[in-house]
């Protein structure tokens, strides 16, 4: 889309666009290019020279069982975070939508967790489930369940999933609630006159009308669990135990900064870049559809 009316001159617009172009070039394109370039080399241990290995880093990664395990971990983690944040959010939104009065108050209370940083959410949940002082783990102990996410990989995964999903419930709630409010009352009332009960109306009318929102939230939440949950994992488990919570982004960090394996870390960045690209395309495809919806 273009404006019919434009101003003349080319020096001014170039000056206007310059700050963004310079910042993008220096802090985005150059580093992204570096990531691609470095992914083709293996630096020696002293960082003095590096050897060109072509796609060697990628071949190594795809054959590496830890890297493949990290892919599976990421998939499990993202699916669980998406489900654990969308289902409670939809439930709360449906209840809030039934209230004529007071839903504003509940909404104000429910958006709090969105403002809490993932890393802080990690600290809060770590505190509740801490093996020594945690309230929840203590009560679980009283019930005869020995909670220990420091040793048990499954429990560690459960904890990072819940801590990551918690703040997203607020976000998803806002979108579901807005979508529910937009469902025409007349349609619901017509179904009610025909004798459809609440749950039947929900399954046959409301849920299908919510499907654009639901699909949108699916994509957005997967992107979130891929890239924005680093803080949760770093504060709660640091990727452990035995790499059971090492998601792809965490591995880029731990191999690059802790392990100093720059070639592999860069190759992982490039693979993630492809994943993000694919997710972005899905998102845009969908948004185009939604415009015509």
């Amino acid at each position: 889309m273009e404006k019919r009316v434009t101003f003349r001159g080319w020096l001014l617009p170039l000056l206007l666009i310059a700050p963004q172009v310079v910042i993008s070039a220096v802090f985005f394109f150059y580093p992204a290019g570096q990531a691609i370039w470095q992914s083709l080399f293996i630096p020696d241990p002293f960082g003095l020279s590096s050897q060109y290995v072509g796609l060697g880093n990628f071949e190594f990664l795809l054959g590496d069982k830890f890297y493949r395990a990290s892919f599976v971990t990421t998939a499990v983690f993202s699916i669980l975070v998406t489900l654990c944040s969308m289902i409670p959010a939809l439930f709360l939104a449906v209840i809030a939508d039934r209230l004529i009065k007071g839903s504003g108050v509940y909404r104000t209370m429910l958006i709090w967790p969105y403002a809490v940083a993932p890393a802080i959410a990690g600290v809060l949940w770590l505190f509740m489930f801490n093996t020594r002082v945690g309230v929840v783990s203590w009560y679980l102990g009283q019930l005869g369940y020995d909670w220990n996410h420091v040793l048990n990989g499954g429990e560690a995964m459960g904890l990072v999933v819940v801590a990551s999903a918690w703040g997203r419930i607020s976000y998803n709630f806002l979108f579901f609630f807005a979508a529910l409010q937009a469902v025409p009352r007349s349609v619901i009332e017509a179904a009610a006159i025909d004798g459809a009960r609440f749950w039947r109306r929900f399954w046959t009318i409301v849920l299908p009308l919510l499907s654009p929102t639901t699909f949108f939230l699916l994509v957005v939440n997967v992107v979130y669990s891929f890239f924005e949950t680093f803080g949760v994992i770093h504060t709660i488990t640091a990727g452990g135990p035995q790499q059971s919570t090492t998601v792809l982004v965490y591995k880029v960090f731990s191999d690059g900064f802790v392990g100093q394996d720059l070639g592999s870390s860069s190759a992982q960045s490039v693979i993630l870049l492809i994943v993000v690209g694919a997710l972005t395309i899905i998102q845009f495809k969908f948004i185009e559809k939604r415009v015509h919806y």
Partner: protein, 285 residues
């Protein structure tokens, strides 16, 4: 008739009561972690390390918060709060300014290389900082910007979401306004300041809310580039407050810090709820 239908669609009496109970239960569950952090920030260390800790606030609020704010663990929390504030406002304001300017150039001018720049900016949408951390770190280190506000802020404003939002908005400004400005002999920048910027007020405010939270909640980037505790932001600094060995963490001070870390973004979100929701919907479209 209408009344009867309403009766079927919207619950009244016992049904309404039940709905409120379910809603309150949901809110309590969602709120519990925050409540527990608040309680922990008002009691003594011995009360926490001998579980179960109390579920009702104690009387140590002033002591714990002043200890956190003025001495902290590695660095006073007040210093970290200030750093976070600078970073969050820097990112929000910086991104809004460069985006307003570049969107104005893209929408209201025809110039050589326009499409190239447009696509260049568009590409930055696709790559979060988490994916390019190692080389970005090297660039910032090369400029000597480790442990500086510039290093904290600049790499995070290199993304195009705001530019796209403003571009979409500028396209909806009626052409007649630009036409009239041109006929009156107004310079492009006059048109920008007198018409475009005032019209974008609401979008700017909504975006500010979203970007403030985005900046405040950053974790990985400050973790990498602030090695000096004096430059830590509160969200990343809280992890540094945990002891590395077998020592017991100073829970009341850490939990007081976690409450302090969430107060500014919560105030922004709750007090500007309408703008926040609008910003959220806009920036995801």
């Amino acid at each position: 008739m209408v009344g009867e239908v309403h009766g079927m669609v919207e619950k009244r009496g016992s049904g309404l009561w039940l709905t409120h109970v379910m809603m309150i239960a949901g809110v309590l569950v969602i709120f519990f972690p925050i409540w527990l952090a608040f309680v922990a920030s008002t009691v003594t260390q011995p009360e926490i390390v001998r579980p179960p800790m109390p579920l009702w606030p104690g009387d140590q609020l002033v002591e714990n918060y002043s200890k956190a704010l003025f001495s902290g663990v590695n660095v006073p929390v007040s210093t970290m709060l200030f750093n976070s504030l600078v970073m969050a406002i820097g990112i929000a304001v910086g991104k809004i300014i460069i985006s307003l300017l570049s969107a104005f150039a893209i929408v209201y001018f025809k110039f050589p290389g326009k499409m190239l720049f447009f696509w260049m900016i568009f590409l930055t949408l696709m790559l979060p900082v988490e994916v390019r951390i190692v080389p970005t770190y090297e660039v910032v280190a090369g400029f000597g910007m480790l442990n500086s506000y510039g290093g904290l802020i600049m790499p995070l404003i290199a993304s195009a979401t705001a530019t796209f939002l403003f571009r979409q908005f500028f396209l909806t400004i009626p052409d007649e306004l630009a036409e009239a400005a041109r006929v009156d002999g107004a310079k492009p920048m006059q048109f920008f300041w007198d018409i475009v910027v005032p019209m974008s007020r609401t979008n700017v405010a909504a975006l500010f809310v979203i970007l403030f939270i985005y900046g405040w909640n950053q974790y990985l980037w400050p973790l990498l580039i602030t090695t000096d505790p004096e430059m830590n932001t509160i969200v990343m600094g809280i992890k540094q407050m945990f002891p590395s060995g077998d020592d017991v963490a100073d829970w009341p001070v850490i939990m007081a810090t976690s409450i302090l870390a969430m107060i500014p973004p919560v105030i922004v979100v709750v007090s500007m709820q309408r703008l926040f929701i609008r910003g959220l919907v806009d920036s995801e479209k």
